[in-house]
Symmetry: C2
């Protein structure tokens, strides 16, 4: 049986420069028992523990305890320890209990998808890539190689693992961002932490975002107390640039967060003209731009696709992540910023997590250093292209008239827009009964949703299952529209 | 040589339910060139890319491009691609450049130690444990075992890796927290993210902290806009409980963040009496308590040491981490909370990082499952005990009169208090010249520092080097005091 916990107490000595004496211990215990600081029945530290704590030679504590037992303040109980004697005490401090309900009052929890997928339910709106297409084996091989070559690193780097930042910078330079150096790259836990770091760092709390947008970005900026202005994006009609200009002029945001390639959730990619107008507005109205480029690696031919960062230069903040393309569990993303911003961004990252798990960063570095990434992206793009084509074919075959979809040209998902008279909540419930999950998109909009649909993930759901699921969606839609 | 980037553009079709035709492409390009959306000299997507994007059969795009070249709107350049012809255009949209200095205005960066240690400089105040004492090899062995048995996991769990949460809960139950289940445990990136999650979740932005305190906690709460009340802690005189009561009654914080065992930076451990008063105040004044228990695992005999969580029950939030005790680069910490708070805390974690790197969590789980942790803690405690004793001996030998130090009883560091007339900035500079670094502790206090000293890390600096460094400190202090 475990013995009773002992109390911790502090022995007071007049001069800490000298060793504590037995008398100091006696005086302290007498004081503490009298004042009630040491309640009756408390177990005192064992002799060896107190000697150790105070750096005393053997037997000093024992002689003090002997003295206190002799005075009747303490009592020894065989095999149990030394206790404050009940006989000599008249104070009693009982242990208080903290009240139910918990004193900690939490802010209401915003809704956000959990990122894990229940067995037996098909997540038709998942932004993840089918695990079958991810290089799990090669990443394990890289992990083994890192362990073999150098073992685990002891310390973390707040900035992120140096060799990985070097390779990322080199790859971005090859894509035309010629000014990017490792010092401009801040590694983050997925792109989510990159957005969090931006949100924490922003001096003026006004952010503009697309609507619809990735809800994790919208909720994040709102959670930091930022005023969030939504800019309506219609993937079937493009960006209403004059409307954007009017809203941006009125709201005067400090930052525009934009997903210009393969916008989430619509799959829309900005045209070159739109990219240029956005940069022109940024300069004229004085807002910063953060570009989240999560999707372009998944689009074939994307190395030729101009990004805001490429057009706008060093002052466009650039966010990307390996989460979707390598393995979600690694959680490695990054933020590229002008060197003048790095100290503030680093400070924000430190307050958030100090630094991140080194091993994940080292595995990704090894994977990139072996040039596995380009080979992987090529085959991933090929497969996603084929799945995209197949999905378009299924949609043309299965969808009733009036249903529309975006044409992102590859990548993981497209947006399926259904006629307004379809009750989406009802459709969601009917699909859930058939173990098919579609995401409620309402939280992706800043105001009343101007789109009426949901994301379809051909990347996550294999073609044969996608075909069956979309046939079910088609049937339910026909029913709803009849 | 790489070819010019091509523009992305969106082909408009009257009915998205049907396939895009060559005529749709022609119409779109004509419109876009006329409106200036496709500026002269723009490269158009290659035929295969556009076909792929639109899900078209072969040659549809080619025939559209042929038509447009015939009309003089486009021109082919050998080996370069298809471009908008200069001849036919009178509009020109030049690429704007974003202004220097960067439009992104950042909040001032708070100071916080980087967590990495420059070579050749002895960090006398580091809270880290000497890497020689950390189980790097055994952790690598666990990493290899995880890779061998199951390879890398694909998805992350927002809550944290289940098996690790199970083992942590089991260990806490064995320490007397009988109500803790895996569902109460939230894994975090070190304890820093646990504090961040608390800070983000708190409904009423008023926090009380000890002063001095770990600066990363103080700066974090301040960065969330919380009103931070400091509670003076004197490690030589204990906690002025009446003063605390007065300040807490006036400030009415929603949360008290307390490091009750081995307080950072003083090394002070609350007495049982102090723990009980804190709980009594929490109940009476209605504030929640978050206990950061980072130190007790490093103190021998700590399994008997009562914690706030043990005395206060399920409504004391409990924070701990494996960072210092296993390997800093793993970044695995945790937060234990009442089940009613878990949804809000999870939501805050999601906004921060969604989920964390799985592999680190799996390595720690394997290490704990193999019962390596207890063996490791025993030998770590033994070594830290010996280093503590040795440090006390060195201090008694080397420090001039008037210098005092705390007696934490083991663990990694103690607080060295020097007379007020020593100029600490000067001392720091003189030591830096001799390649010895001591931490500036000013940012650890909420107001004017009532202590005048710094942390001495016997855990990080091996005894022989510690002896030389403290001899230097002693010499400089004697000089300053003479």
């Amino acid at each position: 049986m475990a013995r009773a916990p002992y109390v911790s107490f502090r022995v007071r000595a007049p001069d800490p420069g000298r060793r504590t004496t037995a008398q100091d211990i006696v005086d302290t215990v007498v004081d503490d028992v009298r004042s009630g600081r040491l309640p009756a029945g408390s177990r005192l530290p064992p002799v060896r523990v107190l000697e150790q704590q105070l750096g005393l030679s053997k037997n000093t504590v024992q002689s003090a305890y002997d003295e206190l037992v002799a005075r009747g303040l303490l009592e020894g109980r065989e095999r149990e320890g030394i206790f404050v004697a009940y006989a000599s005490i008249d104070t009693d401090v009982s242990v208080p209990r903290v009240a139910e309900p918990p004193a900690f009052r939490a802010r209401p929890a915003p809704p956000l998808h959990a990122g894990s997928f229940p067995h037996g339910v098909m997540s038709l709106s998942a932004v993840f890539v089918d695990p079958e297409l991810l290089p799990r084996e090669r990443l394990s091989e890289c992990a083994r190689a890192v362990l073999h070559a150098r073992g685990l690193e002891t310390f973390y780097d707040v900035h992120g693992y140096g060799p990985l930042r070097e390779i990322i910078a080199e790859r971005l330079r090859a894509r035309g961002m010629r000014d990017v150096r490792a010092a401009n790259v801040l590694l983050t836990t997925g792109s989510q932490q990159a957005l969090d770091v931006l949100g924490r760092t922003l001096a003026e709390p006004r952010v503009a975002i697309e609507s619809p947008v990735y809800p994790g970005a919208k909720l994040l900026f709102e959670s930091h107390g930022h005023v969030v202005t939504g800019l309506r994006l219609d993937p079937f009609a493009g960006i209403p640039l004059d409307e954007w200009e009017a809203r941006l002029s009125a709201a005067r945001p400090a930052l525009l967060y934009a997903v210009t390639s393969y916008q989430n959730p619509t799959g829309y990619s900005y045209t070159s003209h739109e990219l240029e107008r956005v940069l022109e507005l940024a300069e004229r109205l004085g807002f910063a731009v953060a570009e989240d480029d999560w999707g372009s690696d998944m689009l074939s031919g994307s190395e030729y696709r101009p990004m805001l960062r490429l057009l706008g230069g060093a002052h466009v903040l650039y966010v990307n992540s390996f989460t979707k393309k390598l393995l979600p569990s690694l959680r490695v993303g990054f933020l590229v910023a002008h060197e003048s911003l790095i100290p503030a961004l680093l400070a924000a990252k430190r307050l958030s997590t100090l630094g991140n798990a080194w091993f994940s960063e080292a595995i990704v570095a090894e994977f990139l250093a072996r040039a596995y990434y380009d080979t992987h992206l090529q085959s991933l793009q090929r497969e996603l292209d084929a799945r995209y084509q197949s999905c378009l074919g299924i949609l043309r075959e299965q969808m009733p008239e009036g249903v529309r979809w975006t044409l992102p040209g590859g990548g993981p998902t497209l947006w399926l827009e259904v006629p307004r008279r379809v009750n989406l909540a009802r459709l969601r419930a009917d699909l859930a009964e058939r173990r098919i999950e579609i995401e409620a998109a309402e939280s992706a909009f800043t105001g009343e949703p101007h789109l009426h649909g949901f994301r379809v993930s051909y990347a996550f759901v294999p073609p044969d299952r996608l075909s069956r699921a979309l046939a079910t969606v088609g049937d339910l839609l026909r029913e709803a529209l009849s």
